[in-house]
């Protein structure tokens, strides 16, 4: 998955899972303030991303996540780790 594909997948997930307006899903959108997601939604988003990436997400991976771009970075990092296991 290249960067654009990751973004599109993430966007589709957010739209479908949280009934969000696709136009609002831009990299700079803040999950809480702009998209109205709360901590419970974040948990369900992580569970969904685990399904998509096949990777277990560690709590620390999500500590600094605030925006859609942050989420995208975490997914790409997980996918990269999966592609080249240490």
């Amino acid at each position: 998955m290249d960067s654009q594909q990751v973004f599109q997948t993430l966007k589709g997930t957010l739209v479908e899972q949280f009934e969000l307006d696709p136009a609002k899903i831009i990299p700079a959108a803040r999950l809480q303030e702009d998209l109205g997601l709360d901590s419970i939604d974040a948990v369900d988003m992580i569970i969904k991303l685990q399904e998509i990436t096949g990777c277990k997400v560690r709590p620390e991976d999500f500590k600094e996540v605030r925006t859609v771009a942050d989420v995208q970075r975490v997914i790409e990092k997980l996918l990269a780790m999966q592609a080249s296991p240490a």
Binding site: F18, E19, G36, D38, I40, D41, V43, D44, I47, E51
Partner: protein, 413 residues
């Protein structure tokens, strides 16, 4: 002195409609909500194919994603029934709900069935697949009570009353006691049950379900000689219970007064009802209300159409009231709505009290000679003006409840 408790709002979702006028029309037409469930054909071991699902209903737009994420079907039924009841009481969006003076007593046999599958999978596969932030909240037995609190912002006490078939009646009783004791001014009280194959399988395994699969309108048959078991139903009903003084001060419409409640246990057998403790709970409710048996003009029976249950209940009722007592069971119309039946039957009994008309038992063609003699209502029902009525329920594990309601007679009461 204990405070007096009145009913100022009622609402529910049933197999025969979601408001009294519609339901009353169906009762008067002797129409049953039972239908054939071809959906269950894949479960070949199940003997029954009968159920009484709730009639279709639409949720308003404010049941959005965030509101619904913590709700399975049973919680949706609980919340929507409570919204109808609060609206009926003129209390929707009232500041009282968030004041800490309003609480909730609510129950069901269990939470929703679907999330149980995800938890079961953990045990069988060791995987968390399907478990989300809200899986437990949808599954837990107090899902209805908690979701009502979240949805309406209620901040008083929550009393989960999940005791199978007495969930709804215990909710009303415990809510009444809470207001009497001055702990809350208002209580949202009731019970709900979503339709799923599990509870049906429970009774089916015990050979307690009706298998008149080709003739849904002829069953269940409470007190009838040819009854062959119960039919599981779906529904929810909520009563708004309020401190009489508070209700008077705000000029609320009062439907009835809750004057008596009792609950006890058989302490004997998990499924075999015990006549003596059933009679005892009725005596206790009469004592609680300060009434003699002769004051009760009608009893709404639990009677689900099982061989042992109907018989034990008929003898218990006769032991308390004698053979003169007018009695009928609404389960011949709605099936056995389990966690909902206590509040559903309380709601409709109060409406019948107000209408001076009590619905007949349908499918009661020949009273079972092994049941005790009582004045079983048949035919067109009974026009009857009475001051006090009783509603009884009995649950798995030997839990018994008895509620007594008094007609509200306005300012003079």
């Amino acid at each position: 002195m204990a405070r007096r408790v009145v009913v100022t709002g009622m609402g529910g979702l049933t197999a025969l409609g979601h408001d009294w006028l519609t339901i009353a029309g169906n009762l008067r037409a002797r129409r049953s909500g039972v239908r054939h469930m071809s959906e269950w054909d894949n479960c070949t071991e199940l003997n029954t194919r009968l159920a009484a699902p709730v009639a279709s209903y639409q949720l308003p737009a404010h049941y959005n994603r965030k509101a619904l994420r913590s709700m399975g079907p049973v919680a949706i039924l609980s919340v929507r029934a409570s919204e109808l009841a609060l609206d009926d009481a003129g209390l929707l969006n009232d500041a009282l709900l968030k004041s800490g003076q309003a609480g909730i007593a609510y129950g069901a046999c269990a939470g929703s069935a679907e999330p149980v599958v995800a938890f079961g999978r953990i045990a069988t596969t060791g995987r968390l697949q399907g478990v989300t932030s809200n899986t437990y909240v949808q599954m837990m037995s107090h899902t209805g009570a908690v979701n009502i609190s979240l949805f309406f912002g209620v901040t008083g006490r929550i009393i989960p009353s999940s005791s199978a078939c007495t969930s709804g009646s215990q909710a009303i009783g415990f809510a009444c006691e809470t207001i009497r004791a001055g702990k809350q001014t208002l209580m949202i009280a009731g019970g709900a049950e979503e339709l799923s194959i599990g509870p049906t399988a429970v009774f089916d395994t015990l050979f307690a379900t009706s298998t008149r699969n080709a003739a849904p309108q002829t069953t269940p048959r409470p007190f009838d000689r040819d009854r062959d078991g119960l039919v599981v139903g779906e529904g929810a009903a909520t009563l708004i219970l309020e401190d009489l003084e508070h209700a008077r001060a705000r000029g609320a419409r009062i439907y009835a007064e809750v004057v008596g409640f009792a609950t006890n246990a058989d302490g004997a057998h998990v499924t075999q009802p015990q006549t003596d403790t059933m009679a005892r709970v009725m005596h206790l409710a009469l004592e609680d209300a300060g009434l003699e048996p002769a004051a009760i003009g009608y009893v709404n029976a639990h009677a689900a159409g099982t061989t042992l249950g109907d018989r034990a209940e008929s003898f218990a009722t006769q032991q308390v009231f004698g053979a003169r007592l007018p009695i009928s069971s609404l389960k011949s119309y709605f099936g056995h709505t389990l966690g909902a039946c206590g509040s559903l039957e309380a709601w409709l009994s109060i409406e019948m009290l107000r209408a001076n008309w009590f619905a007949p038992n349908i499918n009661l063609d020949n009273v079972d000679p092994t049941c005790a003699e009582l004045d079983y209502l048949t035919g067109e029902g009974r026009n009857l003006a009475t001051e006090y009525i009783m509603s009884n329920n009995f649950a798995f594990g030997g839990i018994n409840t008895s509620l007594i309601f008094r007609r509200w007679q306005g300012a003079a009461a």
